[in-house]
């Protein structure tokens, strides 16, 4: 391996060293990065998937404080008060459904205030967990995923330094050959033009798992181990002493009414009752601010509905606003479906960059090994595994979505060792198309008329269109082959 050297060839040596570093790092995290990127691109639509998984639930976009209070009362009647938090999720949260929940279970609220179905979106949960933790134990998984975010920044830096023709090739795309040149050009064009998005996602993604490390280091260095002292300038500390031990449920209707009055432009997302029935009890209302990237402005109330104060995210220090904006910047959840589609496309581009990077490395080797067959099988096996896990969830295996995903991914990837890479690249997309058609058919059969609800048909139609696009080459080849044969025989005559 060539590494940095001094002298006249230093520039070229730096390129080579950067390419080495880029390749090594890319190979090290490629599989995890691809899973994170693909699941992240899909998770942009997590709210849409949640609605899709339960299409028959009543929907309403109004925030009705009394209905929320009634729903909470019924919930407490059924499940008691033995919890650290109660949450009320409003229909303006992005999913037009009213939900009441504690730390363990969530129920939809019907129009008459009674409890409806239990909220259950196991496939969406599996997808989000894959993106957040790679299905590993939560703390470890989140740190690992965040380290991947930091390493993505390193990949971007080394990628730029390893690309001396970055300007000369800015618009170049060469197909043909053995396919490696097309992979290189696609990888480089997507990486260079998507650079602002990739950097944004990498830096904001690194935040979630590594902030704990920063807070801990800073707390032990400057605050005698007091982590709350480090986070207090950003996240307003929780108030104490407003509650009464064993008191009745707080007056949430009054709190919501107050917020609707003082912040008419804001959209209440959800409400949390912290430490119910203790002296530390208080009510916190999260209100999304239009035109702003901050997650929310938070209004705090005592249990009797008196306002305590605000979190101060809307007009606080720039640093505070920045930190509180990271969620929406990372997930693209700030300006409706259009922005989500933008994030989805850009996220899929990043997934393609991850996949093509390894393909390039494999394609440049003088000899082929099993890896050349396993990698495309893994790349195409992942969406197949996601589709199959959705099918399994529909067929009643709500708790098995994660297991089915990993099992199918293992099988499809292992099969790659038995099959040729070219065969995998041709047939696995068709298999994915078939799985998606099966998913759509099962979904329609399972949900009946509810499948035509506005909560579900956009997702179903998108899945069908994607399946159609994947299966199109099959029909195209079948239709064209006889014609081509006829033309060939005519030419021979």
């Amino acid at each position: 391996m060539k590494r940095m050297v001094a002298g006249p060839n230093r520039g070229r040596a730096l390129d080579a060293a950067a390419l080495d570093a880029h390749a090594w790092l890319g190979l090290m995290i490629s599989a995890a990065m691809y899973l994170i990127c693909l699941s992240g691109a899909l998770a942009v639509f997590n709210q849409e998937f949640e609605r899709w998984e339960q299409p028959a639930v009543e929907e309403d976009t109004r925030v009705r404080p009394k209905l929320a209070a009634q729903g909470l009362e019924h919930f407490v009647e059924r499940y008691g008060r033995d919890t650290s938090h109660f949450h009320v999720v409003f229909p303006t949260s992005g999913i037009p459904r009213l939900v009441v929940e504690n730390d363990d279970i969530a129920h939809f609220v019907r129009d008459d205030g009674t409890l409806g179905a239990i909220e259950s979106a196991p496939w969406t949960r599996m997808l989000i967990d894959l993106h957040y933790y790679l299905h590993l134990p939560k703390n470890f998984g989140m740190i690992l995923v965040s380290v991947c975010g930091a390493l993505l920044v390193a990949l971007i830096v080394s990628g730029i330094l390893a690309h001396p023709r970055i300007v000369r090739d800015a618009f170049r795309f060469r197909r043909g050959g053995n396919g490696t040149q097309a992979s290189i050009d696609l990888h480089n064009r997507l990486s260079v033009w998507g650079l602002p998005f990739h950097l944004t996602i990498a830096i904001t993604g690194a935040y979630y798992g590594l902030i704990g490390l920063l807070v801990s280091l800073a707390a032990h260095a400057f605050f005698d181990g007091d982590t709350e002292a480090v986070s207090a300038p950003v996240f307003a500390p929780e108030p104490s002493g407003y509650g009464v031990e064993g008191a009745a449920l707080p007056d949430i209707a009054r709190a919501v009414d107050h917020v609707l009055r003082v912040d008419p432009e804001g959209r209440p997302i959800f409400l949390t009752i912290h430490d119910p029935g203790t002296v530390d009890e208080f009510v916190e209302l999260y209100v999304q601010q239009p035109g702003r990237l901050i997650y929310s402005e938070n209004y705090r109330f005592s249990p009797d509905g008196e306002r305590i104060g605000r979190g101060g995210y809307r007009d606080g220090a720039g640093g505070k606003q920045f930190v509180y904006s990271l969620y929406r910047i990372h997930f693209g959840d700030f300006a409706g479906v259009g922005t989500k589609v933008l994030y989805f496309i850009l996220g899929m581009m990043l997934a393609v960059v991850s996949a093509s990077g390894v393909s390039i490395w494999l394609g440049k080797r003088k000899r082929r090994t099993m890896m050349d067959d396993l990698w495309p099988a893994f790349v195409w096996g992942t969406p197949i595994a996601l589709a199959t896990s959705a099918i399994a969830t529909l067929m009643g295996g709500a708790g098995s979505a994660g297991w089915v995903f990993w099992l199918v991914l293992l099988v499809t990837t292992s099969l790659g060792a038995r099959l040729d890479a070219k065969f995998v690249r041709q047939r696995y997309p068709l298999l994915l198309g078939g799985c998606l058609i099966a998913l759509v058919v099962l979904y329609l059969a399972h949900n009946g008329s509810a499948a035509m609800h506005v909560a579900s048909w956009p997702v179903t139609a998108s899945l069908f269109c994607f399946a159609f696009a994947l299966l199109w080459p099959l029909s195209y080849n079948r239709l064209r082959r006889p014609q081509r044969k006829a033309v060939d025989s005519l030419a021979r005559r």
Partner: protein
């Protein structure tokens, strides 16, 4: 609403048009056209901001070129001769225990040691800056992945990784001693 939609369309057009100038300048090797194109692309923010607000507008301005550049890339697409017949020879994968140990060791350094070293440097720098607590946090959040990336790149691109690691960890230990003792 109508005005915002018209302005958003205009911003898309401005960005697309600007990228067209960048492409034209690239094609003709004319730096002036390219610079003009970049200026036009950046100026689309002036339409994005009234259309979507300052914060959303900045995000759209930064991300839109990644989508709008593809017509120009596809215009420049070319085909190189196919080399389907030239199959690379196949060989069984070769495993070397020594190489695996080196790779696992490097992975641990890259994923664990270097982020930790970058974390200590990040906290040190953030708390030396004359800014408030919230700004320290924001700077730290930005710095940590950037410093980690820098450390990882310097380590992986170095000819003498072990020496680099020793020097880095000595520096970090000194920094930690200053901070914690």
């Amino acid at each position: 609403m109508f005005n915002a939609s018209v302005l958003a369309l205009f911003a898309v057009f401005l960005c697309f048009f600007g990228l067209g100038w960048v492409y034209w300048g690239w094609k003709k090797a004319n730096r002036f056209s390219s610079a003009l194109g970049w200026a036009l692309t950046a100026s689309s923010v002036l339409a994005w901001i009234p259309a979507a607000g300052l914060q959303y507008g900045l995000v759209y301005m930064l991300f839109a070129p990644a989508l709008l550049v593809w017509p120009y890339v596809s215009r420049e697409a070319s085909r190189i001769p196919s080399r389907d017949g030239q199959q690379r020879p196949r060989e069984a994968p070769q495993w070397s225990v020594a190489q695996m140990v080196v790779n696992v060791g490097t992975a641990i350094v890259v994923a664990l040691v270097l982020p930790l070293m970058a974390g200590i440097l990040t906290v040190f720098i953030s708390f030396q800056l004359p800014v408030t607590g919230a700004s320290q946090a924001a700077i730290g959040i930005l710095l940590l992945p950037l410093l980690t990336a820098l450390y990882v790149f310097l380590y992986l691109a170095s000819r003498r990784r072990m020496q680099w690691l020793l020097a880095g960890s000595t520096g970090t230990s000194l920094l930690a001693a200053v901070m914690y003792l």
